[in-house]
C-alpha cells in the first residue's frame, strides 16, 4: 500500500460513563433504587480523565427529588479538571440555570423531568446554546403489558407518554441528542433494551445515547449495532467482579477500536 495515500479512519462511536451524584457523592443504583456508594466524584472524574475517556454524563439524582437547584460549586470543581466533554443533568428547570452551568465549562445540559413538564424549555436552551449542547434524557420502564412508558422524577412518576413520541417531540423542540435510559435494566448488567434503542434511533435524526444494562464491553457494541450513536454505562465502569467491588475502569483506545472495528 502506498504510504502517501490518505486512508480515512472512520469515527468510532462514543463510549460514555454515566456518573450518578447524590448529595455530592457518587452512587450507583439498581433499577433506580438501592443507591450504592461509589466514592468521591472528583477522584472518579480524575481517573476517567487520565484514562482518556470520550465524554462524561453527570446526573445529580438527588436534585429533582429534593426540589433544589444544581450544585454549581461541585459541577465547577469536577469540570475544571475534565479535559473532555461533560454533560450535566439534574434539577435544571430554567434557561438561566442552564446558562450558568454552561459558563462553568459544561458542554451539554441534560433535561429530563423539567422538559416533560415544560417542553418549551428545550427550545429556550437550544436557542441559547445550540442544539448539540441540548440533551433530553428519557427514563423508560416497561409496564405489565411490556409497553414502554416514560417515567419522570428519577423513577418516581409514571406517565402515559410513549418514549418514541416523546423523543420525536423533544428533537422537534430542539434537542440535539436523546439519551434513552432503561430503568428496568439499570444496574442489572445484562445488556441494553435493544428493541427500545432501535425504535428510538429510527424515530429521530439526532444522535441517540443508549443507557441502562451494559455489563460487558460487548454490550456497548450491541447498542451501536441497534442504532445508538453512543453507548453509555454506569456499573460497567465503576464495578468489578460478581461482588460489585468499586473499581473505576475505562477501555483503552486499542480495545475500543477493536470493539467497534
Amino acid at each position: 500500500m502506498m504510504e502517501d495515500v490518505y486512508q480515512p479512519r472512520q469515527m468510532r462511536p462514543r463510549v460514555i460513563p454515566v456518573l450518578l451524584l447524590r448529595d455530592g457523592q457518587l452512587y450507583k443504583t439498581v433499577r433506580f433504587r438501592n443507591p450504592k456508594y461509589v466514592g468521591d466524584p472528583r477522584v472518579a472524574v480524575k481517573i476517567f480523565n487520565d484514562k482518556g475517556c470520550d465524554e462524561l454524563i453527570l446526573l445529580d439524582i438527588s436534585a429533582t427529588p429534593q426540589h433544589r437547584e444544581p450544585d454549581y460549586q461541585l459541577i465547577e470543581e469536577i469540570v475544571s479538571e475534565s479535559f473532555m466533554p461533560v454533560a450535566y443533568g439534574g434539577g435544571v428547570s430554567s434557561a438561566a440555570q442552564a446558562r450558568r452551568i454552561f459558563s462553568l465549562g459544561v458542554e451539554k445540559v441534560v433535561l429530563n423531568s423539567s422538559a416533560v413538564e415544560n417542553p418549551s424549555l428545550i427550545s429556550e436552551i437550544s436557542s441559547l446554546a445550540g442544539a448539540s449542547s441540548t440533551v433530553v434524557s428519557i427514563d423508560v420502564s416497561r409496564d405489565w403489558l411490556r409497553r414502554s412508558r416514560v417515567v419522570t422524577g428519577c423513577g418516581q412518576r409514571k406517565t402515559n407518554l410513549e418514549p418514541v413520541e416523546w423523543a420525536r417531540s423533544a428533537a422537534a423542540h430542539g434537542a440535539g441528542e436523546i439519551v434513552i435510559n432503561s430503568i428496568d435494566r439499570d444496574g442489572a448488567m445484562e445488556g441494553y433494551d435493544l428493541a427500545l434503542i432501535k425504535e428510538i434511533s429510527q424515530a429521530v435524526d439526532v444522535p441517540v445515547v443508549a443507557v441502562g444494562g451494559a455489563g460487558q464491553e460487548g454490550h456497548l457494541r450491541q447498542a451501536v449495532d441497534a442504532g445508538a450513536a453512543a453507548a453509555a454505562a454506569g456499573s460497567l465502569f465503576v464495578f468489578q467482579g460478581p461482588h460489585r467491588a468499586v473499581l473505576i475502569t475505562y477501555p483503552n483506545e486499542d480495545k475500543l477500536s477493536a470493539l467497534f472495528g
Binding site: 490518505y6 486512508q7 480515512p8 479512519r9 472512520q10 469515527m11 468510532r12 462511536p13 462514543r14 480523565n49 482518556g52 470520550d54 465524554e55 469540570v79 475544571s80 479538571e81 479535559f83 473532555m84 466533554p85 454552561f102 459558563s103 462553568l104 465549562g105 459544561v106 458542554e107 446554546a129 445550540g130 442544539a131 448539540s132 449542547s133 440535539g176 441528542e177 435524526d205 439526532v206 444522535p207 450513536a229 453512543a230 483506545e253
Partner: protein, 218 residues
Amino acid sequence: MIVVVDYGMGNLGSIVNMLRRLSVPALLTGDPARIEAAERVIIPGVGAFDQGMKNIRERGLRPVLDKVALELRRPVLGICLGMQLLGRSSEEGSEPGLGWIEASCLRFQPKPRPDGYVDKVPHMGWNYLGAMRPHALVEGADAGTRFYFVHSYHAVCARSEDVVASSWFGGGPFTAILGRGNIAGVQFHPEKSHRYGMRLLKNFSAWQPSAQTADASA
C-alpha cells in the same frame, strides 16, 4: 499572556482551565485594550455564525481584532466557531466573516460511506487527523492523535496551502486545521481533547509564526 476573547459566544471557561493546567498565563476578557496588549489571542466560540459576528461588532471588538491579527501580526488561534469566523462567509448566515483567511463555510452534505452508512450531522465525537502539512500547531501529532468535534458546518479554503490538516466525515475530507501566516484555526475543541488538545495549545503558546517562512502571507 494569552488572551481568550470573550464576546459572549459560549463555553470559554474550559479553554482557560486547560491553559491554567499547562501553566500558560491566560486571561478571559472582552476588553479591547487588554486584547491589544496580548502576546497571542484565542478566538473561541460556540453558536451561530451571524450571532458571533454580530457580537463582535456590537462589543466594538472588530477594530482591535483586525489590528492584532493583520497589523501587529500576533499569533491568533480560532477555535470551532472562532475558526469559521476567520473566513469570508458561511452558508449558516448572511454576515460577512472576519475575512482574514480565504475560506467559506458549507453545511455538511454527507455521502454514503464505503460500508453504506450515512453519517448524521452534526459531526459530534472524537476524530483523527488525516492528511497534514508541517505546522507548529501539529508538532508531535501522530497517527493516534484525535480531537473532539461538534459542528454542522466546515470551512473550505480557497487556497489549498491554507489547509494544515484534514479529517474525514460524511464520506469525504474536511478542514480540521487551517493556517496562514500568524493566523490559524481549529475546527475541534482542543480544550476538550485531553492530552492531544493540551499538546496543541502548548504548541500554540510557543508558536513563533515569523520564524515560519513556508506559509508567510502573500
